[in-house]
């Protein structure tokens, strides 16, 4: 851990030094004295946004500086009070809790070199927010020199869907020359830790070490054909528990896109993986190979858009840093048809199955769907009608299920009121008397915005209801929720506020009835300048939830009051 800390600090010091060197005017002489002065200037320049905020013209000296610094700060203090016998079910932490975010962004350029540093951290004593009291949430440094790009720290290089589609902590390099048909070359090295504290081996953020390295080349062969090749290796180490599986994975991928005629594109990816698995601390290593393939054809020419897709990911394919659902074969078709400028039909069909090596264990899924969307219906300017029917069928050796979904939605504006209404009917059916449930739902939302001389009022009403009829268990659950809200803005005073009150009622015939009352209120003050700081926001929020259940011992009430401030500081060095 100490060594890693040292590496990070070394990188940061080197970067800070680089920033100070590159931010010097070309006529400056860099020596120890200058560096000291530069540090003093940093301190002095911290006051720059305060003077800028009062609209003074930047001095010539300031305008010559080429490194922009932005510091974002956000902090709040909350008091949470939870009472009642069921208070253990609350998602709040009792008592006074604080939460602070600090982010520093440094960016600048020197001739052809552009550089950027992002560092941010968080502190909180609320374990529901983060079990770690002070956390380093982001650390990134980026350099761009002509066609060369170097990223360090938190890096995200998306090589292709199957190979690399996740963030790493490490370094990446990219060569990208737009002036001709040159290949785009990327290389990456890093660890797939979810957070920096995992790297520091913090007990509260334990994760095994998944080191990854690889490269990707993208090449435009012709105007209509381009492809990419990826080789990526990931290697797990430092098991946390004896039962953690460790993977050693090598993945090769080829992806491409071909546009033979205008409006038609054919794209796809083929990937192969070689995996060595040590299932637990005493298991012997097993090796297996797998592959994945996907193809998508898109035809897009008014009035139609047709998308055909096929994908097969076999059970032995491992993509530890990419995105895939293994052991699945899927085919889909979608046709969107613009019948008139205001009427669009949308139909799709998806089929997929799992357990590819043993089809007797497969579950086959069929999802046909059709819908229509009509704008300006009845010649009404703001009207929008949506109707959709969908079937979701699953067949397996264990059971078969058929779920039907029907939805109707309508949006319009009547006498200045925005209305959004919807109704739905769903039938869930699983054979062998497993499930037979009907769900009827409805929702209505009415809102408006009225501007007066100094006040803007934004009242809103929402209501929704579900009626769930279970024919197997002979039960009926009813859900009803409503809320009324009011937003009040005072633009001259730089104040915005909102208030919402509502109730959520669940009548569960087999379980516990629940009746929840909720209330939220917030007020936000965004002055032009606050103690010399621009773009500052001050806020106060209050919240109350009262949960009442049929079983009294589960009742609880939670109240929270919080106030805070957020602001950016901008200056140059």
């Amino acid at each position: 851990m100490k060594q890693k800390c040292k590496i990070i600090f070394a990188v940061m010091i080197v970067f800070s030094f680089a920033v100070s060197v590159f931010s010097q005017d070309s006529s400056s002489v860099v020596n120890s004295t200058t560096t000291t002065n530069s540090t003093n200037n940093d301190l002095i320049n911290l006051t720059v946004p305060l003077t800028l905020a009062t609209d003074l013209t930047p001095t010539q000296e300031q305008s010559a500086k080429t490194t922009d610094v932005r510091i974002n700060f956000g902090g709040q203090v909350s008091y949470n009070d939870i009472t009642g016998p069921g208070k253990a079910s609350s998602s709040l932490s009792q008592g006074v809790r604080h939460f602070e975010n600090l982010g520093i962004n440094v960016r600048g350029s020197k001739n052809d070199l552009k550089y950027q540093l992002n560092v941010s951290g968080r502190a909180t004593n609320d374990e529901r927010v983060d079990p770690i009291f002070v956390a380093l949430t982001s650390l990134q440094a980026r350099f761009e020199y002509k066609n060369h790009f170097l990223n360090t720290g938190d890096i995200f290089e998306s090589f292709s869907q199957y190979s690399l589609n996740t963030s790493l902590k490490g370094a990446s390099y990219k060569y990208n020359n737009n002036s001709g048909r040159y290949p785009e070359i990327s290389a990456v090295f890093g660890s797939a830790y979810p957070r920096w504290e995992s790297w520091f081996r913090n007990e509260k953020a334990r994760a095994l070490n998944r080191t990854a390295y690889g490269a990707n080349v993208k090449q435009e062969v012709t105007d209509t054909l381009k492809f990419g090749i990826t080789a990526l290796k990931s290697d797990d180490s430092q098991r946390i528990t004896d039962t953690d599986p460790l993977y050693n994975n090598t993945l090769y991928s080829l992806d491409g896109e071909y546009r033979p005629i205008p409006g038609l594109s054919i794209s796809g990816e083929f990937a192969m993986s070689q995996t060595e698995l040590e299932a637990n601390s005493t298991a012997t290593k097993t090796s297996y190979n797998g592959n994945a393939f996907k193809l998508e054809i898109v035809g897009d020419e008014d009035p139609s858009r047709v998308v055909l897709g096929y994908e097969r990911v076999n059970p032995e394919f491992e993509s530890l840093l990419g995105s895939s659902i293994k052991d699945r074969e899927r085919a889909s078709a979608r046709w969107r048809y613009k019948y008139t400028p205001n009427t669009t039909f949308d139909s799709r069909f998806t089929w997929y199955r799992n357990s590819l090596n043993d089809t007797s264990k497969s579950t086959n899924n069929y999802k046909p769907e059709i819908g229509v969307n009509i704008k300006r219906i009845f010649d009404r300017k703001y009207s929008n009608l949506n109707f959709n029917i969908k079937l979701d069928q699953k067949n397996s050796s264990a059971n078969n299920s058929s779920d039907y979904f029907t939805d109707l939605g309508y949006r319009d504006r009547f006498i200045g009121l925005d209305v959004d209404a919807g109704a739905g009917f769903t039938s869930y059916n699983v054979d062998k008397n497993t499930r037979e449930t009907l769900d009827y739902s409805g929702r209505l939302s009415v809102s408006t915005r009225k501007s007066f001389e100094k006040v803007i009022l934004k009242p809103a009403l929402n209501a929704s209801s579900n009626y769930i009829d279970d024919h197997i268990n002979n039960t009926t659950d009813k859900i009803f929720e409503y809320s009324i809200g009011l937003g009040v803005d005072l633009p001259d005073s730089k104040l915005t506020s909102n208030f919402k009150f509502g109730q959520n009622v669940l009548k569960a015939s087999a379980g516990d009835d629940a009746d929840s009352l909720f209330l939220n209120a917030g007020i936000y003050y965004r002055p032009d300048v606050f103690f010399g700081i621009k773009d500052c926001t001050l806020f106060a929020r209050a919240m109350m939830n009262d949960f009442a259940f049929q079983t009294d011992t589960r009742n609880f009430n939670e109240k929270s009051f919080s106030m805070g401030i957020s602001f950016p500081l901008d200056f140059k060095i």
């Binding site: 069921g86 737009n178 546009r259 005629i261 205008p262 298991a283 449930t437 259940f549």
Partner: protein
């Protein structure tokens, strides 16, 4: 079921019939051969076909001096492209693009990021014919929002739509290229809405990283509570998760999610494209195939579909059940079954015959009570009968019919006592 099928068939036929009336050749891309067509076009590397008439560029990510590059290719069968013109002010003025013999063109301008550009492109062939200019319209705007502000705005919208159970609004924030499939997420979220009531989720961003192709990686802490509509019970969980958003038409949309899932928990195995790399005992919300909602430690949630009991059970398998030496057992229905899941053979010592089911051995002394049924690590072809001894712990993957973790405890009479945990 039949009625529903007929309804869909009828609507599809009606659609085809009406389609024929409107435009018979809707399927012909590129239209007739003598028209001037635009083969492809990119604005700062973003494909024109992905823009739908609107392109939003982030000031932060623009090249040096806000340079905008438009390149593409125009073609015509019976003539040659003679000129390509670009308008940035709603066709009021036109500027000539650099044109090559093969119809490829390039146009550069330095953008004033406070302006909105109404872009049109006109390709003219040597006979004077032009392309369909109206179809090339793109409104180019610039956002001063940094990516983190846009990520927050997108997550706010996603969580708001999910919490208010507004499916239409939620799905409008999901990318058409959502990795597991938009329709699979649509069905899963619908089931979430049936099972969950009064959903509350707070999120706290840890980290945002973006890549040049418009994807943004987001890692965040979450704090969630829901009420189960079945039981009326309140469930809370918290932890960390990761997702990827994709920039489409200037808006970030959901592209992929890792476990623990924020949306679509009802079909988690078909939605999560990976698991975040962490070892945690945090409570994690899961939904079973039978709609049971519960919270389990994160490490167990990877293997737990939440629907079936994971309690440890004990059986005594009688070797003489099938014949003199064999026994089979159906873990799902908890009964002997000649076509059952597992065959035990005691001819020359105890043998386990999982047939084609993948299998793995766990370290001796592994506690069934504290060890989840492994989700991975199974040897695909165990190769017939496997000799086992008392005290050994094995896991078998029966695919759609579930997984079992079992320990051979002791012999009794003509049978063996086994402790097991089963999950479908």
């Amino acid at each position: 079921m039949k009625k529903f099928t007929f309804l869909i068939l009828f609507m599809t036929l009606a659609l085809f019939a009406s389609a024929g009336q409107v435009q018979a050749k809707w399927w012909i891309f590129g239209k007739s051969s003598d028209e001037v067509t635009l083969n492809y076009m990119h604005i700062n590397k973003t494909s024109y076909e992905d823009m739908n008439g609107k392109a939003v560029f982030f000031k932060d990510s623009l090249p040096k001096s806000n340079e905008m590059t438009i390149n593409g290719k125009a073609s015509v069968k019976k003539a040659k492209i003679g000129a390509v013109m670009v308008s940035l002010d709603n066709k009021e003025t036109w500027d000539k693009a650099k044109l090559n013999d093969n119809g490829t063109f390039e146009y550069k301008f330095y953008a004033d990021t406070s302006k909105t550009y109404d872009f049109y492109l006109k390709a003219i062939d040597t006979t004077g014919k032009t392309n369909d200019i109206e179809k090339t319209y793109v409104q180019i705007t610039f956002s001063s929002q940094d990516v983190s502000a846009l990520v927050r705005e997108t997550l706010d919208k996603l969580f708001r739509a999910y919490q208010t159970e507004n499916l239409t609004s939620f799905m409008s924030l999901v990318s058409e290229n959502f990795v597991p499939g938009t329709d699979i997420l649509d069905s899963a979220v619908r089931r979430d809405f049936l099972l969950f009531d009064y959903i509350k989720i707070e999120y706290f961003i840890n980290n945002i990283s973006q890549v040049s192709d418009g994807k943004v990686f987001v890692s965040f802490q979450y704090n969630r509570s829901v009420i189960s509509t079945k039981t009326g019970q309140t469930f809370t969980d918290k932890g960390m998760t990761e997702l990827v958003l994709k920039n489409e038409d200037g808006q970030l949309k959901l592209f992929s999610m890792k476990h623990p899932l924020m949306f679509g928990l009802s079909d988690a195995s078909e939605i999560a494209t990976g698991v975040i790399n962490q070892n945690s005992d945090e409570d994690t919300l899961v939904v079973g195939s039978d709609g049971t909602v519960k919270v389990v430690p994160f490490n167990e949630s990877l293997n737990d579909d939440g629907g079936d009991s994971a309690e440890i059970k004990t059986i005594t398998l009688n070797f003489q059940h099938l014949d003199s030496f064999h026994s089979t057992y159906d873990f799902e229905n908890e009964e002997y079954d000649s076509a059952g899941y597992m065959v035990l053979n005691v001819g020359s010592g105890l043998h386990l015959n999982p047939a084609t089911a993948p299998i793995q051995q766990l370290p001796a002394g592994t506690s069934l009570s504290s060890t989840p049924i492994p989700s991975g690590g199974y040897a695909v072809d165990p190769g017939g009968m496997i000799g086992v001894t008392l005290g050994e712990v094995w896991a078998i993957d029966f695919g759609a019919r579930g997984k079992v973790l079992l320990e051979f405890k002791s012999f009794v009479g003509v049978g063996v006592i086994i402790d097991y945990k089963y999950k479908k």
